[in-house]
Amino acid sequence: MAGDGEKKPKLEMVQADGAQEDCVTFVMHDEDHTLGNSLRYMIMKNPDVDFCGYTITHPSESKINFRIQTRGGVPAVEPLQKGLSDLHQVCQHVLNTFQAKVNEYKEREEKPME
C-alpha cells in the first residue's frame, strides 16, 4: 500500500494466475488461533461457504493463511466481511450481557447489607 513505509500490510490476498473471485486465500499478519479459529467458526456458519479453513504456516512467523471457497459464484470477500461483522456483533452482545449480569450480581450482594 502506497505511503505505508515500514508498516506491514495487515491483510493480503494470495494472487494466483487465473484466480477466480470465489476461492481466495487471505494472509493475515500478526494473527494466530485467537482470531483464526473464532473467525473460521463464524464463516463456516454461513450457508454460502463451501470450504473455510486456516493454517499457521510456521510457528515462528505470526501469520495465518485463511482460505475461503464459496458456492454459487459469491465473491470470497463477502463471507469474510460478514464473518468479521458477525463476530463483532457477537462480542458486543457478550459484552452487554456480561456487564449487565455483573452489575446485577453486585447489586444483589449489596442488598443484604442494607
Binding site: M1, P9, K10, L11, M28, E31, D32, H33, T34, L35, N37, S38, L39, R40, Y41, M42, M44, K45, N46, P47, V77, L80, Q81, L84, S85, D86, L87, H88, Q89, V90, C91, Q92, H93, V94, L95, T97, F98, Q99, K101, V102, E104, Y105, K106, E109
Partner: protein
C-alpha cells in the same frame, strides 16, 4: 457413529466421556451437516440461547457461566485474557548501586515480574523509535518507580541473639519498599490512587549490613504475548459443564459405591420406599475423573459427558485490574481485532 434420529441430539450437544476415549469433541452444527436442521448463523437465535450467570465475584476472582456460545469464541476470550490484555510492568531498571548478593540481571528480572497496581487504560504504549535508542520517559507512557534501601546493624539488638530480624534493619527488601516517583502531571492525575506494587510482601532481595540497593525503574504498557510479566491474570481457564445420566435405577449397596465414585456432593442417596436410591444432585461439582468406568458392574449404569456449549470460566487477576474488568477488556480486544480487519478490507476494496 451414524447420526440416527435418537442420538443426533447427543452428537450435537454432548461430548461423551467413554472408558477409553472422548467422543463428539468437535463442533459439527454447520449448515448442511444435519438434514432438517437450520444451522446457519442467526443472531436472534444466538441472543435467545445465550446467557451468562455470575457465580462468584470479588475483587480479584470471578467465576461465571457462559452458555450458548461455541468453544472457538470462548477459547479466543481465554487466549486474549492470558496474552493480549495490556498491563503495566517494570521494563527498564537503572541500577545506580547494587552491593547485594543478588546479581544485577537477576534483580532486574525479579523486579519485572512484580505486579504493578496501575490502570493500563490510562496509559499509552511506548513508541519504540529505533533511531534514538533511548526515548525520553514521558508521563503518558511511563511510570517511574524507585527502590533505595540500605541494610544496617540494629544498635538495640541483644548480644546473644542470632535472629536476623533482631540483628539487622532492612535486611529483606520487600515490594512495599518500591516508591512511586510521579512524572509530569501524574501527581495530579493519580492523586487518589496508590501507584506501586499490588502486594506489599513480595521478597525481592536479602541484604546484610553495608549492602544497599539504589535502583530506578520505568514501567511501560505491554501485553503477555511479548513477555509473561505483562499477563494480567494469575490464570484464566474454563471447563465444560459435566453431564451425568443414570441409565437405570441404582439402589442399595451399589448406590453407595456409585456415590463414592464421584466428587462429594454430586450424587445423593434418596430414601425411596425404604431403599436408598442414587440421584444426581449437582453434576457441576464433578471433576470428571471417570472413576465409575473402572468398576465393571457400575460402568454401564452411568453415561458421562460434558455439555459442549456450557463454559464455566474462572478468572483470577494479579491485581492490576479487577477480574470482571479484565473480561470486559478481553472482549473489547477481540472486537478491536475484527474492526481492524474490517477497516483493512474496506480500505483495500476502495483502492
Amino acid at each position: 457413529m451414524a447420526a440416527t434420529g435418537s442420538n443426533v441430539e447427543e452428537i450435537r450437544n454432548l461430548v461423551v466421556l467413554e472408558e477409553f476415549g472422548v467422543k463428539n469433541v468437535h463442533t459439527t452444527d454447520f449448515p448442511g451437516n444435519y438434514p432438517g436442521f437450520q444451522d446457519g448463523w442467526d443472531m436472534k437465535t444466538f441472543q435467545k440461547n445465550f446467557r451468562i450467570d455470575v457465580v462468584h465475584l470479588d475483587e480479584n476472582n470471578i467465576e461465571f457461566d457462559m452458555v450458548g456460545i461455541d468453544a472457538a469464541i470462548a477459547n479466543a476470550f481465554r487466549r486474549i485474557l492470558l496474552a493480549e490484555v495490556p498491563t503495566m510492568a517494570i521494563e527498564k531498571v537503572f541500577i545506580y548501586n547494587n552491593t547485594s548478593i543478588v546479581q544485577d540481571e537477576v534483580l532486574a528480572h525479579r523486579l519485572g515480574l512484580v505486579p504493578i497496581k496501575a490502570d493500563p487504560r490510562l496509559f499509552e504504549y511506548k513508541n519504540i523509535a529505533e533511531e534514538f535508542g533511548e526515548q525520553e520517559a514521558s508521563e503518558i507512557d511511563t511510570i517511574q518507580l524507585q527502590l533505595k534501601i540500605k541494610c544496617s546493624r540494629n544498635p538495640r539488638a541483644s548480644k546473644e541473639s542470632s535472629d536476623p530480624r533482631e540483628l539487622y534493619l532492612n535486611h529483606i527488601v520487600y515490594s512495599k519498599d518500591i516508591n512511586w516517583v510521579p512524572l509530569g502531571n501524574q501527581a495530579d492525575v493519580f492523586a487518589d490512587s496508590r501507584i506501586g506494587a499490588v502486594h506489599d510482601d513480595i521478597v525481592i532481595a536479602q541484604l546484610r549490613p553495608g549492602q544497599e540497593l539504589d535502583v530506578v525503574m520505568h514501567c511501560v504498557k505491554g501485553i503477555g504475548k511479548d513477555h509473561a510479566k505483562f499477563s494480567p491474570v494469575a490464570t484464566a481457564s474454563y471447563r465444560l459443564l459435566p453431564d451425568i445420566t443414570l441409565m437405570e435405577q441404582v439402589e442399595g449397596e451399589k448406590a453407595e459405591r456409585l456415590k463414592r465414585c464421584f466428587s462429594r456432593g454430586v450424587i445423593d442417596l434418596e430414601d425411596v420406599r425404604g431403599k436408598k436410591v442414587a440421584k444426581v444432585v449437582n453434576s457441576r461439582l464433578d471433576t470428571c475423573s471417570r472413576e465409575v468406568l473402572r468398576h465393571k458392574d457400575l460402568k454401564n449404569l452411568v453415561k458421562l459427558g460434558r455439555v459442549r456449549d456450557h463454559f464455566i470460566f474462572t478468572i483470577e487477576s494479579t491485581g492490576s485490574l479487577p477480574a470482571d474488568v479484565l473480561m470486559q477488556e478481553a472482549i473489547k480486544v477481540l472486537m478491536a481485532k475484527c474492526q481492524m480487519l474490517l477497516n483493512e478490507l474496506s480500505s483495500a476494496g476502495t483502492q
